[in-house]
Amino acid sequence: MQLLQTIFLRLITTAVTLFGVAVIVFVVIRIVPGNPIAMMLPPGATEADIARLSALYGLDKSIPEQFAIWSGGVLRGDFGTSITTRQPVLGLVLGRLPATLELAIMALVMAVLIGGVMALTGTRLRGTRSEGAIDVANGMALSIPDFLWGLVLILAFGVLLPVFHISGRITPSLQLPFSTNFYLFESLVRLRFDLWADIVSHMFLPALALAIPLSAVIGQLLKQSLKETMHLDYVTLSRTKGYGENHVILHEALPNAILPTLTLIGVQFTFLIGGTVIIERLFSYEGLGNLAIDAVINRDLPLIQGIVILFAAIFTVVNLVVDLLYATLNPRLRHA
């Protein structure tokens, strides 16, 4: 019951948030300079041509009027038509979404694995020089932003030691039997491991670039919480029962120490999705981020709106999922 109530409340706040985001974006992209219509037309087009096309896209109306028309469409599931490609915005965005989701989730999994292993090893080796080394590595990972890691990785594993692909999502010459755009997932389901390997080889470096700074944040916080937990009475009691260090860390300390990290991952995951915009550009990866940058360059107003709303929706869903996970993992909240 509690849970349903929570979800219901969150859905309402989500709707309000999305509305606010829509208004802000709508207004901002219309008051910044740059006319999308002028950019579409060949040089030499007359004022009359521009006015005619503007009217076609409804851009001659006042901003509140435009917003009313647009939001009316959104409520019917119509996000408008992209000015540059002349395709429905919803179709374009949903077509690119799987690529970005797969990249973000792969990056998240990598970050959790790397950060988790760092934190656990650091805790196991606390007080030794190896712990210091892990802290230094963490600090380095943290002080360099994801797109610079992207450049470093491109140089290291794409150019100097070319073991991974550094451009695109899949080798273009391959025949694709896919019926969805979730290539990574679908290649697994279809047991096409050849394609899967090719896709992973394309995703690995961009995902790693996104994962490195996040893994450092996760590693630091988790290790900190673990070390604090290791002093608690129930951990000591468990030692007197005959348990060794590994059991004590994994079974007694970790389930409690992981809670703050989980919240952090929720917050950071939204940053990570934001980070895909530049990383996708860097690796010419055909996801939402790349689409967003093209849309901004071309002043493709309907497309920008659609993408921003979708990003905002993803952020809120992620936060909701994290909150629910947190409630399941923390027995104190579950029964409260």
Binding site: Y234, S238, G242, G244, H247, P255, P331, R332, H335
Partner: protein
């Protein structure tokens, strides 16, 4: 022969001063041995040294800790851990922090039996139900399925006591097991520990500030000052005729044994000076 025997145990803070000064004490099978002394005297350190849970900042300089004649300090750490898990147990001070909030109560009683002693799970669970009934917990089944935060402090201490007796240990270390509880619950818990200890014939090393408690449940006691045992004797002798001036002062400071209407008499300066001189003398001899 005594079950636990500590011989000349010397602990030091890494890169710092002495924490225990050649502490020796013996606890016979089935005997309750009190450890008293002011805060910081090193009572808990003795318990931690026995159970192998000393903080990393503390090092064992010398001495022996014999369990049934085996020097555990000379054992391989993993083997020592298993031996202690199988033969000793701890009743901790604060029941609110000694149960893991992430796990249900049942597994926290049965874990040692299943993982360390390799009992079948069903047998361990039956044993846990039996023990919970023994510590007077109604509805053992429900309690085992509960999380710690759903239970009161007194309940949790009963659970910890049940857990300590689960593997029929030969020795239990109880470190001020009632100080964190309500005064009304303290007496019940103390009685319970004593009853369980007698029924199971367990040796008990009982850390406390309270000489009143010592007189009720201990057969012997050691008085500690600054990590040094100043008196080690049986309880009757102690309360009739304490030998050391510090012991006498402690006794005088315990209201029950003088005049209950009297306020506490602090340990006199002169006595502190005497015992400090003894500590300094011991340090000088250890240094020489």
């Amino acid at each position: 022969m005594s079950y636990l025997s500590i011989r000349d145990l010397e602990l030091r803070l890494k890169g710092g001063g002495r924490l225990l000064r050649r502490v020796s004490l013996e606890v016979a099978r089935g005997e309750v041995h009190g450890l008293v002394g002011e805060s910081g005297a090193g009572k808990s350190m003795i318990g931690k040294a026995v159970l192998g849970t000393l903080p990393r900042s503390v090092e064992i300089v010398s001495g022996q800790i014999l369990l049934d004649g085996t020097d555990v300090l000379a054992m391989h750490p993993a083997a020592r851990r298993r031996l202690i898990g199988a033969t000793c147990a701890l009743i901790p001070q604060d029941p609110l922090t000694a149960l893991n909030p992430a796990h249900r109560v049942g597994p926290q009683i049965t874990d040692r039996l299943v993982d360390i002693l390799r009992w079948p799970r069903a047998k361990a669970e039956a044993r846990a139900r039996e023990l919970l009934a023994e510590v007077q917990i109604a509805e053992p089944e429900r309690v085992m399925r509960s999380y710690p935060h759903e239970l009161s402090g007194g309940m949790r201490q009963r659970i910890l006591i049940a857990s300590a007796f689960a593997a029929e240990p030969k020795l239990i270390v109880a470190d001020e097991p009632t100080t964190a509880l309500d005064v009304t619950v303290q007496k019940q818990i103390l009685k319970l520990i004593k009853a369980m200890q007698e029924r199971h014939g367990t040796a008990l090393l009982f850390v406390t500030h309270d000489l009143g408690v010592v007189s009720k449940i201990c057969q012997r006691l050691s008085v500690l000052y600054a990590g040094m045992v100043v008196e080690d004797t049986d309880v009757r002798t102690f309360f009739r005729a304490p030998r050391h001036p510090y012991s006498r002062a402690l006794l005088a400071a315990t209201p029950k044994y003088t005049d209950p209407t009297h306020s506490l008499t602090p340990v006199p300066e002169a006595v502190i000076a005497t015992v400090r001189a003894e500590v300094a003398e011991a340090d000088r001899r250890a240094g020489a």
